[in-house]
Amino acid sequence: MALDSEFFAKYPFLPQSKEYVVSKGLELTPDFVEAGFNRARGAIVDGKISQFARGVSLAYDREIASYSACRMMVSRLDSAYFSNRLAIAESKRASAYLEREKDPEVILVAQSMGVDARPDGQAFQVGMADYLRYTPRDVHYKLVNTRLLNGMVKGLTKEKLVRIIEEAVKKRVMSGLGAKGEYPKLVQEYAKKLSETLPKIEQANLNIPMENYPPCIKALLSRLAISENLPHTARVALAIYLVRAGLDNDKITKLFSTAPDYNEGTTRYQIEYIRKKEYSMPSCATMDSWGICVATCRCFNPLKFNPRIHGRYAEASMKSADETRPRESSG
């Protein structure tokens, strides 16, 4: 198997590709920066990065460098929306290449990503923890339906392994984005141009003014607005709150439309389900155990939050230094 510049162009996020850039002394020429901008725009606006010309070795270095330039621009913007869009597009692009690779190359990419993948006869096997980390929550991916033996999920098809690598790539691309650094002037200019593609987030017309929402709900809404991938529990809590706060299904669906994996039908179904089942709002203690309580506002339940009573406690606790000493228990 050839670890050549064509391979690095296909998988520029691999550590080996970074080593190649360093050892070859690739510099960011204006041409490369422009390629980086096109890559970023493709990812963010169209959700798709175009494939590079195969068999033209000159194009390979341009492709590899464009990945670095693109990352710099998105990092410079420090926005979860851009980071998410880029990570998703990069991972889909990598999958498209992986699907056409021979088995040893697929395994090499997986292992270079830190995924414990190995051949298993004609099929593949992946370490159980990595399997859980990178597989979608789908019934046919459920651990209970796999051939799990001695910590390895065996008998995986290439299709499933590629799906696992795709998720690992997404997380790899995401990590480190938004890190502050000194960027070349040209990169900064292109970053500014890129920022103009940010869609305007429409404020849903709310019955309860949003300023009266508790800090935890505000935090969830702003995380959602920047396309952060909220965990299931956070989505449920937010949806219950919004239902209880009197928003109709259309408005709630619209608020969820910025989720990176948004699907209108699914979202609508789940909101309707929550409304029908009349779920009660999780208490502050439950919100806290889910890791989505952000302030000690003493309201006991987000629905009971009253800015005039609890607002100042919330503010004080969000400012205060961390409580690091134990509270002694009395006997």
Partner: protein, 376 residues
């Protein structure tokens, strides 16, 4: 009130002699509880075993819990400020409700002990590949067992990933089509459909179901119900050779999809194991500290070697308050109970009994007796 004071004294005596050893103590949150509430104060943090020992001797709590999670700042609040680093993987098995009531009977205790053993050996070791050294088993202190897994592979798994592990244990979401299905393969340039199923030598539930089926097939009558020819030993041997490769098509079985669906669902129904799924999923759960006192029974949540689980007798091996005689007045009836060295009961309400301290405390904490007179 008198009873609470007596028990508090006994708890003090226990912690004066023995303090639980806690791996990675400085990254965990602790909670103490009272007779009214199992976790009354939480968000507590100790830097050393010494600090924990001092706190236990001072507070003499009815219950002690610690976090399965590890934090950078275990005492910070709210939870997000603790900065979660990872968590042990926890399994909580409780004897299911049975008519034995509050004095869990030996049969229930033995049943849940056997399930704990199966979980550890067949699931954690065989399926998950967890080394024995990373598995710590302890009595819950009342009517079940806890397993703490400290294998670093699972350390940073989130709630959803842990849910998958819990679902694996309970068999939730097991799907027929992932086990039995028709597969199309090219044979002599033609697409041939063949019926595939779980091989007894495969991993996971494929192997479990394959082996269960293999066992059922030993019964000639059952074999005959699939296909009469299977009663013939040579035909059966050839069929089984296929089954071992996941090929269930060496012999035509009429309505095979229906028949295997029925067998599969029969197997799936037998699955439920009594783990508390929420305990496994909750990445910031406080759970009883191993080797601490359970204030609802007075037993210690004692840790023991997995190989010894078959010999573990809760009322004997988890005894924490010694065998000094104490007098109690029965307020309710109590059944005969085996404490290993001796048996107590059955007792009628109103009677006064002189019992070893561990047994006396057990009856008092179960609300069936009250301490009588002065000590001794």
């Amino acid at each position: 009130m008198h009873d609470v004071q007596e028990i508090t004294g006994m708890i003090g005596g226990f912690y004066a002699k023995s303090v639980p050893k806690v791996p990675d103590l400085e990254t965990r949150e602790f909670g103490f509880g009272s007779p009214e509430k199992k976790i009354e104060t939480r968000h507590m943090w100790y830097r050393t075993g010494r600090e924990l020992a001092d706190a236990l001797r001072k507070a003499r709590p009815f219950y002690v819990s610690y976090s399965a999670a590890h934090y950078e700042l275990p005492a910070a609040r709210p939870m997000v400020k603790k900065n979660w680093l990872g968590a042990d993987l926890i399994f909580d098995l409780d004897a299911p409700a049975h008519d034995c009531g509050k004095f869990t009977c030996d049969e229930c205790l033995a049943k849940i002990r056997a399930q704990t053993e199966t979980l550890a050996n067949e699931f954690l070791i065989d399926d998950f590949g967890i080394p024995k050294s990373e598995i710590s088993v302890n009595f819950s202190g009342n009517r079940g067992y806890h397993i703490h897994v400290r294998d670093k592979r699972f350390f940073d798994l989130n709630r959803e990933a842990r849910r998958e592990i819990a679902d694996y244990i309970t068999g939730t979401g097991i799907t027929y089509e992932d086990f039995f299905h028709f597969e199309e393969a090219k044979k002599n340039h033609r697409l041939v459909k063949s019926f595939r199923g779980p091989s007894p030598k495969a991993g996971g539930y494929h192997g479990k179901i394959g082996r269960a089926l293999e066992k059922e097939l030993e019964d000639a009558k059952f074999r005959g119900s699939l296909n009469r020819k299977l009663r013939d030993d040579a035909v059966f041997a050839s069929f089984m050779a296929g089954v071992y490769e996941g090929d269930y098509d060496r012999l035509n079985i009429a309505k095979r999809d229906e028949k295997f669906k029925e067998i599969f669902s029969r197997f799936a129904k037998k699955l439920p194991r009594e783990i508390d799924v929420n305990v496994t999923c909750d990445v910031s759960k406080l759970i009883r500290l191993p080797d601490s006192i359970h204030g609802g029974s007075g037993f210690a949540s004692r840790t023991f070697a997995l190989e010894k689980i078959g010999e573990f007798m809760p009322r004997q091996d988890a005894a924490a308050f010694g065998w000094e005689p104490r007098e109690v007045a029965m307020t309710e009836a109590a059944p005969e109970l085996d404490f290993g060295e001796f048996k107590i009961g059955p007792y009628a309400p109103g009677s006064v009994q002189k019992l070893p301290a561990t047994a006396a405390a057990y009856l008092v904490l179960k609300g069936a007796a009250t301490f009588h007179g002065s000590k001794g």
